[in-house]
Amino acid sequence: MEIWNEAKECMSRDQMTQLQSARLKKAVTNVYHNVKFYRQKMQEMGLEPGDIKGIEDINKLPFTTKADLRDNYPFGLFAVPKTEIVRIHASSGTTGKPTVVGYTRKDLDTWSECVARCLTMAGLGKDDIIQVAYGYGLFTGGLGAHYGVENLGATVVPMSTGNTKKLINMMIDFEVTGLMCTPSYLMHIAEVIEEMGVKDQIKLKSTINGAEPWTEAMRIQIEDRLNIKAFDIYGLSELMGPGVANDCEYHKGMHIFEDYFLPEIIDPNSKESLEDNVTGELVLTNLNKEGMPLLRYRTRDLTSISHDVCDCGRTTARLSRFKGRSDDMLIIRGVNVFPSQIETALLSLDETTPNYQIIVDRVGSLDNLTVKVEVDEKFFSDEIRELEKLEKKIAYAIQQMIGLATKVKLVEPRSIERSEGKAKRVIDNRKFD
């Protein structure tokens, strides 16, 4: 299989370390001079840009968290004047305030470069026709994938999400060979293809799927089901978007594009660095970003890292399949959901008590979100009509907050399972191992 950028993806470890060290020094100097937040943090720690001689000094630098992004809402972490920013993306934050990221033209080129590397890993090239079925909009999935396909030189069909039958009909008519979407949406597409009885008319070769956790078993199942090759992609809007890492045809972990992202694995409690192949929290540093470069961003994603050279010839480090989160964030249909958002929505209504439980199920292949809310005497009505109205009102408030359709289920007081007096807020029935 081909490699999009052999010079960068197959470097020797020494060359990579040299490149990363040079870029890290530049990045630290840049944020020290251009981002007040980092300058203050470094000054508090008695750290100057000159103290960072290379990636071996990464431990000296301060962490960045999602809370820092929120506190600096909207543009506080930008390192360039607004005139240099050509695009904004945003994702949901913990309290309803979105997390905003800004890109310069060069940042967008970098992003397209990374996505082109991913597509090449999946065996796709300029002869392919690729449907992008991530949501287009503030979410990084749609546009990020889109420009990557254009950069590759392939033909992009910007489907976005929604009409699955239309997607399948176009897949047949255009002889589509590649598809980028969430794993759960791919499963749904497979079901609809089977329902329509058109499996033998599909020319699909490869799919790239990410933005939500899935299992190796699910990946293999979908490959067999559609007779395709499915690839795992990783990304997060804070650092860039989809395309931070991707797995190759050997599926032995995702190759992270180390010339742009410096990975570390830490113990989420002690914050100590962990060795290769030990699971911990992934921490990423932007090495070559202009718009909003982040130092040591705590992703909260749990994984391990390996520096062994892969059979595909790439020398870049690989991230093992993600094992969960070190916080309570849920990823539902590619959307980040925090229990605290549901709580905020409930508290915004006078009629409800914040006694709730979030239940995530995978029905068929789509994630379903149900929120149980305890019925309190204060707002209990003896008319079904009123209770149904209340359910709708709660569902609407939650949808406004998290952007996902939610089923609300009213339950009896104190019926939500409690352990040691503390209610269990989240029941995730999806299986990811």
């Binding site: 019925v375 309190d376 005497e377 209990f380 003896d382 008319e383 079904i384 209770l387 149904e388 289920k409 009213l410 339950v411 009896e412 007081p413 104190r414 019926s415």
Partner: protein, 134 residues
Amino acid sequence: MALKQLSVFLENREGRLEDLFQVFEANNIEIHSFSLAESSEYGILRLIVSNPEIAKEELRAVDFSASLTDVVAVRLPGGFDSLKSVTDAVTSEYNIEYMYVLSTEKDKQAIVFKIKNVEEVEKSLEEKGFTLIN
């Protein structure tokens, strides 16, 4: 004086009705009549009982959502054939929300219904010669 109906929220879960009746039994509460309204996920049990205040407190003590609702209870002088005379007497801008039977005993037939302006409706029924049950 309106009649106090006991309203209880019930999840569609096995054993919940049994739990409820156990509370009644333990507190010597008699049921005169009831009606169960249901949706796919839950139901509302509406009851006319001997001691609604105590029933409500005892149910709340074991985590039921229970409340008291004012309803109109009226005898039907000519049995159920005279239902129309009741609806005619309820000249109101409001609709009857729900209605169920309180008694089928001969010459003592009676119904219960919920409406928004209880006092006004009761007054009007009494003026027209109906007997209310409190």
